[in-house]
């Protein structure tokens, strides 16, 4: 309410002397001239006077300053007088914390299974999927026989493609939708691999038709029979039958650790087994260290078809600690080498024909002879490589570790009590000194950082302590 430039609220403030001096003078001048405002002031003064009629008795004499011990030990009434507002102040915080915890748990419950599922669903790398490695790591599994060495499994191109497609479809069905690209890539790789093998087989068929012999590991009699009765077979069916003769050339590597009771007889027995199978010892080493069991490391070359028997005999030497089988397929390398050999031989024959049939200048003749020599070198080098590969296929490599059962030597005579006590004191002193040296090094390394944080925390505590105490105190006082 505004009246003559003076708000009526100001009149009460004027009576209570809650205005600044200038305003007080203005209102005093205004009141001397304004009857309405003067009446309001009188009314306010009358109300105040009437209110003052309500007086209460002075504080009773029994109200005394609280005793110091009462101030130390909280009493029940003080606790009871904590207002519910304090409790209500905590309730939203507790509810907020509980809500946050529930949300966090829900998020974890949703996220963790997805993470686990995504990790489990990651397909193995294609290299590992195709790598023909079998591990017999645990002795319990060591009795499982390895696949037949030099397993002559014919490759049928059409069937291989179909199988690859089926395998790819099966893989895709088992893969989660998150990784379809990986499954497609794996299937495509398998199909490409089989298609490549079929092409290689067809190429070999053409080479055989030209009469050039490509020596292979022994062909299957069934396939031979099929070829022998080929009078009624068409050229295409004969080509397919020849393609089936392409065999996988696989080199086998076996690692075997055996713990034996008697070291020397076991080692001799292993050597005899290899000799009986027609193999030989490539490397042999023995080690004997005091306080440790004797060990022998043997590298054996065993005919691939005798490998299961030799392995069984080696396992029988004692307790198998570890066994691992890995393979290396060299078919592609051999076929590639043979193709290059055929080409080089043909080149050599043509060069020889040129040299025999044509006459020319001496320089040209010498040039042809140099080319023949270079081609011959290539042929011999490739034949050596091929022979080496075939040697790896024909003779499996077995790496055997023979470990003697450890027999602890008889313990030396016990040391006397006085000596042991002295040793204990010496060890204790070393530990004690080490502890102090460790502390010195620790403080030398971390002392400045610790000091810095101590200063920071102390300063924070000095600054926040009054506020914390006031916060706690206001809750209790309330």
């Amino acid at each position: 309410m505004m009246s003559h430039g003076v708000e009526h609220e100001e009149l009460q403030a004027y009576l209570d002397r809650e205005l600044d001096a200038g305003r007080m003078e203005e209102i005093a001048r205004h009141l001397s001239a304004c009857a309405e405002c003067s009446a309001v002031v009188r009314d306010l003064q009358q109300v105040s006077a009437k209110l003052q009629s309500w007086q209460v008795e002075p504080a009773p004499a029994s109200l005394r300053p609280p005793a110091p011990e009462a101030a130390v030990r909280p009493s029940a009434p003080v606790i009871e007088t904590i207002p519910p507002t304090s409790r209500w102040r905590w309730r939203p915080m507790i509810m907020a914390l509980s809500g946050t915890a529930v949300v966090a748990l829900l998020i974890l419950a949703v996220v963790i299974p997805n993470l686990l599922q995504s990790r489990l669903s990651v397909p193995p790398p294609p290299e590992e999927a195709d790598k023909p490695v079998a591990t017999f790591g645990t002795p319990a599994q060591s009795g499982a026989p390895p696949p037949p060495p030099a397993a002559a499994k014919p490759v049928e191109p059409q069937r291989a493609r179909e199988l690859a497609r089926k395998q790819a479809a099966a893989d895709q069905a088992t893969q989660p939708p998150a990784a379809p690209a990986a499954a497609d890539e794996l299937a495509q790789r398998r199909m490409d691999e089989d298609f490549r093998k079929s092409v290689v087989a067809e190429g070999r068929q053409e080479a055989d038709n030209k009469g050039e012999v490509a020596a292979k590991s022994a062909p299957a009699p069934a396939a031979r029979g099929a070829v022998g009765g080929a009078g009624l077979m068409s050229a295409q069916s004969r080509a397919n039958a020849e393609a089936e003769e392409v065999r996988r050339l696989i080199a086998y590597y076996v690692t075997l650790s055996v713990e034996v009771k008697e070291f020397t007889p076991a080692r001799d027995q292993a050597l005899r087994a290899v000799e009986k199978a027609g193999g030989y010892v490539s490397e042999a080493a023995s080690a004997e260290t005091p306080g440790q069991p004797r060990q022998a490391s043997l590298t054996l070359r065993v005919p691939a078809d005798k490998l299961p028997g030799v392995l069984a005999e080696l396992r029988g030497l004692g307790r198998v600690l570890n066994e691992q089988l890995s393979t290396d397929e060299v078919t592609e390398q051999v076929v590639d080498l043979e193709a290059r050999l055929r080409n080089s031989r043909a080149t050599e024959q043509r060069l020889i024909a040129v040299l025999n049939e044509r006459t020319g200048k001496v320089r040209d003749i010498l040039e042809v002879e140099r080319e023949i020599a270079r081609t011959r070198q290539e042929i011999e080098r490739m034949e050596a490589q091929r022979q080496n590969l075939m040697h790896r296929v024909e003779l499996a490599t077995v790496q055997v570790s023979l470990i003697e059962e450890y027999k602890a030597p008889l313990a030396p005579a016990p040391v006397g009590t006085a000596t042991r006590l002295r040793n204990a004191f010496v060890a204790g002193w070393d530990d004690f000194a080490g502890m102090f040296i460790g502390l010195v090094f620790f403080f030398a390394r971390r002392g400045l950082i610790l000091l810095f944080w101590l200063v920071v925390l102390y300063a924070l505590w000095r600054r926040l302590k009054p506020r914390l105490l006031r916060f706690v105190g206001s809750g209790l006082q309330a």
Partner: protein, 171 residues
């Protein structure tokens, strides 16, 4: 209070002597039972002693004291309402019982936030700034509410209009 906070025992005795009547009167006007009012006053002083280290010169001591007292009284009301409902206004000692009762009736009809301001200003003599700090409201709000309350009290405390003039015109 700062001297007492620093460990000066007699300083608290002086505080107690200075404020015990004013505090008791403030509580007594809110609580009808003199014994209970004394207990609450004792609690307020006890809280002062216990939490003297939390006191800081961010407000006047009177503000601090009345804020504690106001919270204790609010707690008392709340407990009483829960267990043994008590009439908000009961006659208390005074010079003229009839006038006192009229004043109390008038105060009882005010809005609670206006009544609190009137009590703190008229009986405890707190300044507008101190009232604003105790109630945690702006000073302008204190001024406007006090004026409104006083004008309302003027109407409530004025003697009833004489009905004779009206009745007198009756035939």
């Amino acid at each position: 209070m700062l001297e007492f906070k620093r460990g000066d025992g007699p300083a608290f005795d002086e505080l107690f002597a200075r404020y015990k009547n004013a505090l008791y009167g403030y509580i007594r006007r809110r609580v009808d039972d003199p014994g209970r009012a004394e207990e609450i006053a004792q609690d307020v002083f006890l809280a002062l002693v216990r939490h003297r280290n939390g006191y800081e010169v961010t407000a006047s001591f009177r503000t601090y004291l009345y804020r504690i007292a106001m919270n204790r009284i609010a707690s008392e009301y709340r407990k009483r309402k829960e267990r043994d409902p008590l009439p908000e206004e009961t006659p208390a000692a005074g010079s003229d019982p009839a006038v006192v009762q009229q004043v109390r009736d008038a105060l009882a009809q005010l809005e609670p936030h206006e009544r609190e301001i009137v009590l703190l200003r008229e009986y405890q003599g707190l300044s507008y700034d101190e009232i604003a700090q105790v109630l945690d409201v702006p000073v302008g709000t204190v001024r406007s509410r006090l004026f409104r309350a006083k004008m309302a009290l003027k109407e409530l405390l004025s003697p009833p209009r004489v009905a004779g003039s009206v009745e007198g015109v009756q035939p």
